[in-house]
C-alpha cells in the first residue's frame, strides 16, 4: 500500500514537473536569459549593430557613477515617478469614490474613465502635443482668451513646464489603473462598518479616514508598488513628449539607456545603466517584501 502511494506520488510529481516545465522554460527565455545577458554585456564595450566588443570589466559602472548624466537622470526619474504617482493616487482614489456613489450614468462613467489607460501611448502623446501646441493648441488659446496669459506658453520646451507637463500627462494616462483597483476594493468593504461609524457620530470625512482609508491600505500598497516600478521604467511617453529635453531636464534613466544603446551605439554602457536601474528597483521590491512580511502578507 505504501509502495503504491509512493509510486502515485512520484507520478504526480513527474506530472507536476511536466506541467510546470513550459512555464519555467518560457520564464528562463524571456526573463532569466535577458537578465544575465544584460549583466554580461555590461562588462563589455559593445558596438550595438555588430554586437562586437571588448572586455572592460567594471569600467562602464565606474564611468556611469562618475558622470553627472546618471545622477541627473536618476533625479529626473525620481521626480517623474514620485510626482506622477502622487497625482495618480489622489486622482484615482477621488474618482473611484465618486464612481462608487449612486450617480447618474454610473456605468457609462466607469467605462469612459478607463479610456486614457486603454488608449495607445503614441495616440495620447499626439493628442497632448496638439493640446500643448504654442500656435494652435487649445490650452494656450483658452488661457489667452481668459486673460491668464498674454502670449502662448511653452509647455514642453522650458523648465519647469516640461517636467510638470510630462507628470500631468502621465497622471492622466495611468490614474484609471488606480480607479479600477480602488473601486474593486471599495465595493467589498462591509456596509456594517460605515453604519457603526455613523452610529458613533462619524461624519463623511471621518468615515473616509477611519473606515475607507484603512480598508484601502493593503490594495494601495500593491498599487503604489506596481505603479512605482512601471513609472520608474516609463520610456515611450516621455521620449515622445519631450525627447528628454529641454537639455536633459526630463531625461530619465530609460531614455539614457536608449540613447547609449542606439544613438551612441554602446550596448555595453546601456546594459550597465539597465543593470543599475534593476538594482534600484530591487530595493523597491525588497522594501515591499519586507513590509508585506511584517504585515503578515497582503
Amino acid at each position: 500500500m505504501s509502495t503504491q502511494k509512493t509510486l502515485l506520488e512520484r507520478r504526480y510529481a513527474t506530472l507536476g514537473m511536466a506541467l510546470i516545465a513550459p512555464t519555467v522554460l518560457i520564464f528562463c527565455a524571456v526573463i532569466v536569459y535577458p537578465l544575465f545577458s544584460a549583466i554580461y554585456l555590461s562588462f563589455y564595450s559593445v558596438f550595438t549593430p555588430t554586437l562586437e566588443g571588448e572586455w572592460v570589466g567594471l569600467s562602464n559602472y565606474s564611468e556611469l557613477l562618475q558622470t553627472g548624466r546618471f545622477w541627473n537622470a536618476l533625479g529626473n526619474t525620481l521626480i517623474w515617478t514620485i510626482g506622477s504617482l502622487f497625482l495618480q493616487i489622489i486622482l484615482g482614489i477621488g474618482i473611484a469614490l465618486v464612481l462608487h456613489q449612486n450617480i447618474w450614468f454610473r456605468s457609462l462613467a466607469r467605462s469612459l474613465i478607463l479610456f486614457p489607460y486603454f488608449i495607445s501611448t503614441v495616440v495620447a502623446v499626439l493628442v497632448w502635443k496638439w493640446l500643448f501646441n504654442d500656435l494652435y493648441g487649445i490650452l494656450n488659446h483658452l488661457l489667452m482668451k481668459v486673460g491668464i496669459i498674454e502670449f502662448p506658453m511653452d509647455f514642453l520646451g522650458t523648465m519647469p513646464n516640461a517636467m510638470i507637463s510630462v507628470i500631468l500627462v502621465g497622471a492622466w494616462k495611468y490614474f484609471p489603473f488606480v480607479v479600477i483597483a480602488v473601486l474593486a476594493r471599495l465595493q467589498s468593504i462591509p456596509e456594517s462598518l460605515y453604519e457603526a461609524a455613523k452610529i458613533d457620530g462619524a461624519g463623511p470625512v471621518a468615515r473616509f479616514f477611519d473606515v475607507t482609508l484603512p480598508q484601502l491600505r493593503d490594495v494601495l500598497v500593491v498599487i503604489i508598488m506596481l505603479r512605482a516600478i512601471w513609472d520608474f521604467k516609463e520610456f515611450d511617453m516621455i521620449y515622445l513628449l519631450t525627447g528628454g529635453g529641454p537639455l536633459d531636464d526630463t531625461q530619465t534613466l530609460p531614455l539614457l539607456v536608449y540613447q547609449e544603446a542606439f544613438a551612441l551605439n554602446d550596448m555595453g554602457m546601456a546594459s550597465a545603466y539597465a543593470v543599475v536601474m534593476m538594482l534600484i528597483m530591487l530595493v523597491f521590491m525588497l522594501v515591499y517584501i519586507r513590509r508585506t512580511k511584517d504585515d503578515g502578507g497582503v
Partner: protein, 445 residues
C-alpha cells in the same frame, strides 16, 4: 584587451536554449524555405508619406512584372527611429535587403563596420556617366569602393519666404546676409505672425540646422583631416546669432523638430521657413491661399564673403552585407532608377527629393508636373544648391568622410550646446569646451 564577438557568445547561449526553441524552429522551417526560394526582398525607407508609398508600390509592381520570381515587400521606418531598428536588424541578422533615404553619413558608418555591401556594380548598372558630377563622392569609402548611392538629393535648409509679407513689410529683396535676415524678420514679425520656425529642441533637427549656421558663419565642426574644431570663431558667431533669432521664433520652438517647423511656415504662422521642397506640395494641399506668395533662397550667411552652405543629407540607397538576396537586391536597387518609376517617386514629393541623374532632370516626363512647372525657379535653385550640398559626414569637398557623424548627431551634443547657450544662457566657453570634449569622446570611441 582582446576583441570578442559577442554575437558568437549569444549564439552559443541560444544553443543552450535549443530545447525550448526547437519546436518553434521546426514549425517555421517550411515557411523560411519557401521564402528563400521565392527571394523575398524587404525594402526599408523612412519616407512613408502616402503619395510616396503609392509610388513605391508602382515601382514594386513594375519590378515584379519583370521578375515574377521575386517578391518585394516595403516597410516604413522613421527618421528618428531607423537607427535602433537597423541596429536590431544588424545584430539579429534579420536585415532588410534594400534600404533607402537614410543620410549618407549613416551608410558610411555602417560600411566602416562591415555591415554594408559595396555598391559599385549597382552604380555601374545605373550608369556612372548619368549621375551629376561628384554626386557619388559622398559615398566613396576609405577602401575606394562606394557604400551606396543617392536615391535623390535634398536641400534641407532652404529659406522659405512669404513674398506678400515681405512686400507689406517693405522688404525689397530676399535676405542674403545675417544682418539683412535680422532686419527682415523684425519687420515681418507682426500681427501674430512670427519671423522663423527655427528649431531649439533636444533633437537631431536642431543639430543638423545649427551645423549649417556654423558653416554659414565660416566655421566648421571638424578640420578636413577630422580633428575636432568646434570651438572656433564661426561657431561663436553662430551661437550669438542663433540666440538673437530666438525672439523671432514661436515660444514652442524650444521643442520643434522637422514636422513642427514645416507646419509653422505652411500654416502661415511664420513669415519664413527652413525646410526642403516638401513645402511646395504641403502649401498646395494644405494652405493654397499662400501658394502664389512663396519662394525660396539659400539660407543667409554672416557675410557675402562666406559661400552658401546647403545641408543635403544625401538620401541614399544601400544593401546590407548580411542580405540573403544580394543579387536580387542589387537588381531591384538599380531598377529604382528606371525613369518611369523613379520619376513617379520624385513626383510624389516634388522638390523634396531631387533627381541625382541628369537624364531625369531633363526628361519631359519629370518636368511635366504642376508644382515643378509652377515653381521651376525654386526647384532649379534647390537642385543646384543640393548638388553642391554638404552634411556633417562630408563638411566640404576638402573634408574626409566622417563615419562618426551619425553618432554625434544622435548624441544631441550640438543640440545641447544650442540649448545651453540660447535657452540657459550658459557661458559660451564652458559650453563649447564641454561639447568639444564630448565629440572628442565619441571620435575616440
Amino acid at each position: 584587451m582582446t576583441t570578442h564577438s559577442i554575437t558568437a557568445t549569444r549564439i552559443s547561449r541560444r544553443t543552450a536554449l535549443m530545447g525550448l526553441t526547437a519546436s518553434t524552429a521546426m514549425a517555421a522551417m517550411p515557411m523560411r524555405a519557401r521564402a528563400q526560394s521565392a527571394a523575398t526582398i524587404r525594402w526599408w525607407s523612412p519616407q512613408g508619406a502616402p503619395a510616396q508609398v503609392a509610388a513605391y508600390e508602382f515601382q514594386i509592381a513594375k519590378f515584379q512584372e519583370l521578375h515574377p520570381e521575386i517578391t518585394v515587400v516595403f516597410e516604413t521606418t522613421s527618421d528618428e527611429g531607423y537607427a535602433p531598428q537597423l541596429a536590431a536588424a544588424f545584430s539579429s541578422g534579420e536585415v532588410p535587403d534594400v534600404v533607402t533615404h537614410l543620410p549618407s553619413f549613416a551608410v558610411q558608418s555602417y560600411y566602416a563596420n562591415g555591415l554594408v555591401e559595396p555598391f559599385d556594380d549597382v552604380i555601374n548598372a545605373i550608369g556612372v556617366e548619368d549621375f551629376y558630377p561628384g554626386a557619388n563622392d559622398v559615398f566613396r569609402t576609405a577602401d575606394g569602393n562606394y557604400c551606396g548611392t543617392g536615391i535623390g538629393n535634398s536641400a534641407a535648409n532652404m529659406m522659405w519666404l512669404r513674398t506678400d509679407l515681405m512686400e507689406r513689410a517693405g522688404i525689397e529683396k530676399s535676405p542674403v546676409t545675417w544682418d539683412e535676415m535680422r532686419t527682415a524678420l523684425a519687420a515681418m514679425q507682426t500681427g501674430g505672425i512670427y519671423g522663423a520656425p527655427l528649431p531649439y529642441g533636444s533633437n537631431s533637427m536642431t543639430s543638423l540646422i545649427f551645423i549649417g549656421f556654423i558653416h554659414q558663419a565660416g566655421g566648421q565642426v571638424f578640420t578636413p583631416d577630422l580633428q575636432v574644431a568646434l570651438d572656433n570663431e564661426g561657431t561663436r558667431n553662430a551661437l550669438e546669432f542663433y540666440r538673437e533669432l530666438r525672439e523671432y521664433c514661436p515660444p514652442g520652438a524650444t521643442n520643434y523638430s522637422w514636422g513642427e517647423s514645416l507646419t509653422g511656415f505652411v500654416s502661415g504662422a511664420t513669415a519664413t521657413g527652413i525646410y526642403t521642397g516638401r513645402v511646395l506640395a504641403n502649401v498646395r494641399d494644405q494652405n493654397p491661399s499662400i501658394a502664389d506668395s512663396i519662394t525660396c533662397v539659400t539660407y543667409p550667411r554672416i557675410s557675402e564673403d562666406v559661400a552658401p552652405w546647403t545641408f543635403n543629407d544625401f538620401p541614399s540607397v544601400f544593401i546590407p552585407a548580411q542580405s540573403q538576396n544580394k543579387d536580387a537586391a542589387k537588381m531591384f536597387a538599380a531598377f529604382l532608377f528606371d525613369p518611369e518609376g523613379y520619376i513617379q517617386q520624385l513626383h510624389a514629393a516634388p522638390g523634396h527629393v531631387l533627381p541625382v541623374l541628369e537624364s531625369i532632370n531633363s526628361n519631359p516626363m519629370y518636368q511635366d508636373n504642376d508644382i515643378i512647372q509652377k515653381y521651376s525657379q525654386e526647384v532649379d535653385l534647390m537642385a543646384s544648391a543640393a548638388a553642391g550640398g554638404f552634411n556633417l559626414g562630408y563638411e566640404s569637398t576638402e573634408h574626409q568622410s566622417n563615419d562618426k557623424a551619425g553618432e554625434i548627431i544622435g548624441s544631441n551634443i550640438i543640440a545641447d550646446l544650442v540649448q545651453k547657450v540660447v535657452l540657459n544662457g550658459d557661458n559660451v566657453d564652458e559650453a563649447l569646451s564641454t561639447a568639444s570634449a564630448a565629440i572628442e569622446n565619441i571620435v575616440r570611441g
